[in-house]
Subunit: 405 residues, 2 copies
Amino acid sequence: MTVPSLSKRAQTMPASPIRRLAPFAVAARKAGKTVYALNIGQPDVPTPKVILERLRTYRETFVPYGPSQGLPEFVEALRTYYAGLGVPLAAEEIFVTTAGSEALLFTLGALCDAGDEVLVFEPFYTNYNGFCTMMGVVPVPVTTRAEDGYHLPARAAIEARIGPRTRAILVCSPNNPTGTVYTDAEIDMLAEICRARGLTLVADEVYREFTYDGRKHRSVLQLPRMERQVVVVDSVSKRYSLCGARIGNIVSRNRDFMAAILRFGQARLCPPTLEQFACTALTEVPASYMAGVNAEYQKRRDVVCEALAAMPGVFVRKPEGAFYVCARLPVADTNAFAEWLLRDFASGGETVMVAPADGFYATPGLGLNEVRIAYVLEEPKLRAAMRCLGEALAAYPARAAAAKR
Amino acid sequence: MTVPSLSKRAQTMPASPIRRLAPFAVAARKAGKTVYALNIGQPDVPTPKVILERLRTYRETFVPYGPSQGLPEFVEALRTYYAGLGVPLAAEEIFVTTAGSEALLFTLGALCDAGDEVLVFEPFYTNYNGFCTMMGVVPVPVTTRAEDGYHLPARAAIEARIGPRTRAILVCSPNNPTGTVYTDAEIDMLAEICRARGLTLVADEVYREFTYDGRKHRSVLQLPRMERQVVVVDSVSKRYSLCGARIGNIVSRNRDFMAAILRFGQARLCPPTLEQFACTALTEVPASYMAGVNAEYQKRRDVVCEALAAMPGVFVRKPEGAFYVCARLPVADTNAFAEWLLRDFASGGETVMVAPADGFYATPGLGLNEVRIAYVLEEPKLRAAMRCLGEALAAYPARAAAAKR
């Protein structure tokens, strides 16, 4: 009897650096510690009331399949939302997915065959790696640097990474994990490269509404002469604090692309019906909701960044959007440090959970001394978490060794 | 400026034969026709009340991510369910997915690399094709015949299709689209082949609870000496009339396999939170619920099969489970016939929508004169639908031409 082995795909599939430490957190909590979870972008702000109230009005006696492309009422609600951004869309230009995750998976699948390449700016959302592995796609990193606030390098540095199998440039703005909001000039440059080289510009805009210090986000859907070459990946997860709802969508004006996405979507039948039903209420979310959320996050960002900047040996720049910040710590390996925080450290019975940043890089060796911090907790908790982190850095036994290198 | 083209994967991705005709149905309904939809396995029976009532007790102020492997309370409910089937499972042997669709996609991805093969008995659930295309996996069909009630061919015929790249045998019992429930001897034979050849037996058991005439379904999880080689794909969609909930799960006792599935699952973060919350109530579904549903379906099956058997030129055998029946019609191409039914036919303002069966075959040319009928409507509607179908077959202009061949 031979026992079957797993695919190479399964063997190379990366564990999520965000979720890998979960068992240590479970153990720490079991041991009675308070763990401030800054490792994952799980906002604690309330979902707009109208959405949860709409859910409670579901009165059908069963839960049927919806159309593969989404419930018409929900697609209509999304059209209203995009029109409010200055982006008029036809219903056929929107495809509802099971969260941004499926939107990315389908988009990669529709653009790339196994072995094809996608340019992506590192550090990048770690799960891009997972989706690429599932689809056999090769993410080709273009490195951005902490010193530049993780803004884009010059055009030549980007174009140098384009090869015969490059199919798309994947950009996330406001960025996860860096919080960087690319300037209009940066996005225009990417569009120009895509036009010149026949590439698709895939923009992950799930943090669109989270911009600070008066900045306005401009969607790639507003770029001229890019109708056939732009795909937007979107989600209600962060916008309305609905991470567990698993409702996202793709937007594109490229009809052939959307026809392919429909075929991918038909295979999995439909996205969740109940959450779409609830989200039809998104047109009734008052403008004050996002304004309040943004003010709250800007305040949290300031609390976290000011605390980090005051810690000896920590390098950080204040990000422009999203609710993440990448920080360089005076340790050699933030994986070991993050584990140690959960397993061995406590201050007043409290500790903090951060995401080691090397999993956000594709280039081996990069990001080992960086962490991503999601400032998704209320201000008093964030202050307590930062106090823990500062004390932990001072107490970390491996710190001296790292500092000597 | 070069416009990017789509991947070969996107170009070869099949449109769903179940959903392809949807626009014709929309047009027929707009034109005022009543369309009896027997094309899709969307049951009309009520969801158990306890499940929808549980949903209404959701009182959190937001909808957070759950664990990638599923909410612990829901996994616990599933453990109770499987224990009731005589299958004791550890929590780590269950992984919650976004419906059976994702369970299949992840399973194929974890077992197969691009170019690897999976044996599948045709006619088979058409979306297996789609998942295989997405993952670059080659479905190798082993044909079953209407005359045999779509039961399995002899072992030699199955083994003849196994090659160096075969990784698994995928079996669906009770079967979609044929309704066949394989005998214990048939499943034992598949297990023996898998043991001898080092293959994984993947069993799609989402119709487990739907067996008629006193038949009992035996899960492959009860097979001896197959712990490392059995994967079950499951779903609450059909069992509790929750197709739109998108909650399914994988079961396997192969730890390496489950570790890989966890990594796939981490990339997409988690399955829908609200529906898992609702489904924690499944342990409170009374046994009378499934018994009542089964009695209802058995009656519907009899209504449909007796009506079909009475139509001149139609070949059908009464299936043993699920809620589908495959029938051979006296037409040359059921695609054209199904379109004609929606576009050109009406009897008393009514027509019927069926799924052409060629999309359920991988061998070109097979199934062209077959349809799949899902008997998922109430008896009076089914009777009306069968009356429509009978009249339509008698009136179909292309029938004579087909009969002459």
